[in-house]
Symmetry: C2
Subunit: 367 residues, 2 copies
């Protein structure tokens, strides 16, 4: 039975999504801390081979439209002024399994979202070392991960490459990170250096970073033009393929889990909410399938790039079956929709999270 209720309820480890490339996601029931322990942080690789880089030989090349191309050793980066921030990273394909009709791509359920504390240096500091020329408009980032892709039956080899507009690259919070939750970044998360792009979906945070290239061209790359773009319904000749960028406002119910037989008569519903476009302003909860909504309590303090925990004490009125929903609103006024406009690869599904739970009645079983 392919429902969420089949998730191994006891496991604190990650749930498998794919073996090649290796992808794993969190069980929603393990989202019980504001910072996600690294061993519960979702993994989204793009190729079979995971780079195992050697710190002593690793270099970061900065070139293209710069005054002076530079090649930095790890220590050259690490000795720049440090910056640390907590960032809730969500995979653009998170919640894809719940897109209707089914979308192309890895079948992530709701667990490809995690929060870590990332420490490194502002990318800006490195760009200023090289000197950005006035004609540069965007920055291309290349990881050491390389492998095969296929399209229309044609296989080809490529590296993972993504671009950012120059203004976003120069944001003080766009980091070259070398620590994740107080430790060196692990191999699966991009050792030794990972680009961190707060407020954007995870594909922008390039792992195993080896090259930063300033350009005035639009990157015509597979992961820029063929993936992480909104392919909507319609005639191709009228399509503008909008790139996937800023994380849409979203909330998830972490407890109870879908299908859970709940404690009766009171239960605390809790979860997380986040947005790339501002702070979480409000999380409403419905316990009657969306007919009525109540404001949950937002816990802790707002943090610029990280999710906010919320909870609602629910007095379960009676035994029965209940549909619980959460709906977040951000400070820019964006509200989670009931359903998203379908897109071919099922990106950015921030539709309202709905789960069903049962408050048991304890009746005799008919024969």
């Amino acid at each position: 039975m392919a429902t969420e209720s089949n998730i191994d309820r006891e496991s604190s480890t990650l749930l498998p999504v794919a073996d090649d490339p290796l992808c794993k996601e969190a069980s929603l029931t393990s989202l019980d801390s504001w910072i996600t322990p690294t061993d519960r942080y979702y993994v989204r690789n793009h190729f079979s081979h995971v780079p195992a880089l050697d710190l002593s030989s690793w270099r970061l090349e900065v070139d293209g439209l710069v005054d002076q191309p530079i090649s930095l050793a790890f220590d050259d980066v690490a000795r720049l002024p440090g910056r640390e921030l907590a960032f809730t990273m969500e995979c653009a394909g998170n919640s894809r399994s719940y897109v209707t009709p089914p979308a192309e791509g890895l079948a992530f359920r709701h667990g490809a979202v995690s929060t870590a504390s990332w420490k490194g240096v502002s990318l800006r500091a490195v760009l200023e070392m090289a000197g950005v020329q006035e004609t540069a408009t965007s920055v291309v980032f290349e990881g050491a991960d390389r492998g095969e892709e296929e399209e229309d039956g044609v296989a080809f080899e490529l590296s993972y490459r993504r671009s950012l507009p120059l203004a976003k690259a120069l944001d003080d919070d766009t980091l070259l990170a070398f620590e994740m939750n107080g430790e060196p970044i692990t191999t699966n998360h991009g050792f030794p250096l990972r680009l961190i792009v707060p407020s954007w979906y995870g594909m922008a945070s390039v792992k195993w970073l080896t090259r930063v290239h300033l350009t005035d061209q639009v990157l015509d790359g597979f992961f820029q033009q063929r993936r992480y773009v909104m392919i909507n319904e319609g005639r191709e000749d009228s399509l503008e393929r909008e790139p996937v960028t800023t994380v849409l406002v979203k909330s998830l119910i972490a407890s109870p889990r879908h299908g859970e037989v709940i404690q009766y008569p009171s239960f605390t519903i809790r979860g997380f909410a986040w947005s790339g476009e501002g702070q979480v302003a409000r999380v409403e909860v419905s316990t009657d399938g969306g007919r009525t909504w109540a404001d949950s309590m937002l816990l802790g303090e707002p943090t610029p790039h990280a999710w906010r925990e919320w909870e609602l004490a629910w007095q379960v009125p009676s035994s029965g079956h209940y549909l619980l929903m959460s709906r977040a609103t951000d400070s820019a006024g964006n509200v989670q929709p009931g359903s998203i406009a379908w897109n071919f690869r099922g990106y950015a599904n921030n539709s309202i999270h709905t789960i069903a739970v049962e408050a048991p009645a304890g009746k005799p079983i008919p024969s």
Copy 2:
């Protein structure tokens, strides 16, 4: 990737749904004939053990509120006046995989629907042999299939038992069938005798039938009160658990398949439509995600209990991605909805079938 596009496209055999109990469904792409060949007919068993009955020792007991209980050998049934009809049987759990949030039960996609020609005798003839007493209000049918179920952690043994209102049992088209598509019924489909209840979901058509019991009581059975009832969202104390009975109007697109790269610039969209509440009056097709609809052509002649094939010649306007939908209306005026009201076990999902297809552009692949 758990999408329809991963269905083995070449296979003409059934797709596995569960091993215990054995359940299989058709690939939509194999729905290419009005009568479903028996080896492509969906299988829905309820227990691990499939009865292998011996024709010489098999008996049908008719008892309860009758003038004279009778026990019939196979030949006693087979020599009654014959009746044959084509019936599109749909599992109540068909399309359950596309219910949101995920529903409890076996994860049938859209293929638990098949049409066979069933030959047997009217149940009415057998009931009249026994003489139905005036106080009888319903008829309980018992199959030879027996096994374990579990509820609230308690395991118990039971037979498959279902009841019908007397009026439905006396309908001339309610059959005791012993032939399926011109051959003796196969073991998995209920050899030697299967109750056939046209216009109702498949759970009513009891396999391996051994007993027919007339009663004035409501059957308090597991498969009558705990399964095949609509458990809707809400307080249990206010719930009337409506039984699942008549098949709702529905259509499916059999070709193209979801995710198919289609022939361009013209493609014939085809599928089937059916309803337990009347004839199929109309099947509309949308090729633009539901903004506009065109009437398809209904093929062949209407047949009381069987589906109707339909097709639409589509001139694909351009390369691009398209959302195709089909929406049937029956002679009683029922129209397929965009989505169903959620129910805990995901029964009777007759929401509009939507698939995505691509008309290729043939562009170069970016590196």
